[in-house]
Symmetry: C2
Subunit: 213 residues, 2 copies
DNA sequence: TAGATTGTTAATCGATTAACAATC
DNA sequence: TAGATTGTTAATCGATTAACAATC
């Protein structure tokens, strides 16, 4: 049990979880660092190192039981404790998340969405009520909200994040495409920059064709 | 000029580009590794190392001209050469990308979207025509498409990726939430797992409150 | 010129890989 | 027991940081 787990390891945990969930569904009951490494493109060594950050999930000479490993990692991520989220901005992206994204599988309950569109306010999207954005401050004051999902226009991002943070929201999942680097105290901000991912792929694509030429 | 640029450096380039674009808009004309590092939370050393992978963008004793640096990085990413993309699946997420995502800024032209919904086929979403998914093979055969954006249901992901790859598509930007690890030759797959990002934040959120308790 | 800041080399740090004794 | 595979320590590799001469 290491004192401090590196961010690299933490960022691999969701991948492990995903793969193990898949294997469990496929009926695979047993695995080993070698087997898992092959499936995931990692070395057996790295996998054993990673798992040993949290104390032995495995059994010498046998390997790992898929179910135990999955629930062990799930527990390291804290998934048995459900946190509460609200989506702020029910445009296309907000709706996509509300309707398609599996918050529960990530240990979150999606309690409500907020929007300014009078045509949306009062409706529900797949069991999630859409409330008036004007009522957000009152809502945050009276409900425990752990995470605010920002899917509203860029220009409101900063102020909304600041207000949410001051109202006790502890995490901001930010899809607005701008970096929120205001002083939010110890509110954690996870900036999702889809463009980073496409730009990176673009680099490799263009590089690849350059070598051909 | 290093022989091989590490993936770590490449993944930082979009962040540099974003920040420099912002600074340019704000009218900042000049910067230094120290200044930029402070703005971005990186060390001056690292920034100089990163930039020197591509040959000096700066001037000793002066620093970097923001515009030059931005266009230098833009050029490293290959943004002057436009690639072509199509979105496959015009549900909420697909529409969110078509309508809100700035493909042009990432060096892509969004040529078309594909869906099976007869109510959508034939319409246009912000200048992007929505075509019948049944015509996708014919389209790929007759148009150069560099990247397919997968925003369709999970179950079609693998087959669609395979078909696209065989039809000459060189990159798959995959939002379906499953890892596509079929043998796609040298087609590059960029899997976007939004859940990874939320799970990671969840880990830190839960950890933070544990320490409080 | 003097001051500032790069480009680049050297030192440190951390992460990955290899090796192997422990043990199921 | 013999074979397999972990947990863990040691070795390697790469990435970040520090230092400093070059130079604008």
């Amino acid at each position: 049990m290491k004192y401090r787990i590196s961010a690299n390891v933490i960022r691999r945990l969701p991948r492990y979880l995903r793969r193990l969930t898949l294997m469990e569904r496929q009926g695979v009951e047993r695995t080993s660092s070698g087997d898992l490494g092959e499936r995931m493109g990692l070395t057996a060594s790295q996998i054993r190192q990673d798992f040993n950050c949290f104390g032995g999930f495995g059994q010498q000479g046998y390997g790992y039981r898929v179910g135990d490993l999955r629930s062990g990692i799930s527990s390291v991520l804290g998934l048995e404790r459900t946190l509460t989220a609200v989506v702020i901005g029910a445009g296309n992206l907000g709706r996509a998340l509300i309707i398609n994204f599996n918050f529960a599988e990530c240990g979150f309950e999606l309690a409500a969405a907020f929007d300014t569109d009078p045509g949306l306010v009062g409706t529900a999207l797949r069991d999630t009520p859409v409330l008036d954005a004007a009522d957000l401050p009152a809502y945050l004051a009276s409900h425990r909200v752990d995470v605010a999902v920002l899917t509203l226009p860029k220009k409101y991002a900063r102020d909304t994040a600041l207000a949410a943070s001051r109202a006790g929201v502890r995490g901001i999942w930010n899809f607005t495409g701008i970096d929120i680097d205001a002083d939010l105290g110890d509110t954690i901000v996870e900036n999702v920059h889809l463009s980073d991912s496409l730009l990176t792929m673009g680099y490799y694509l263009r590089g690849a064709s350059k070598e051909e030429a």
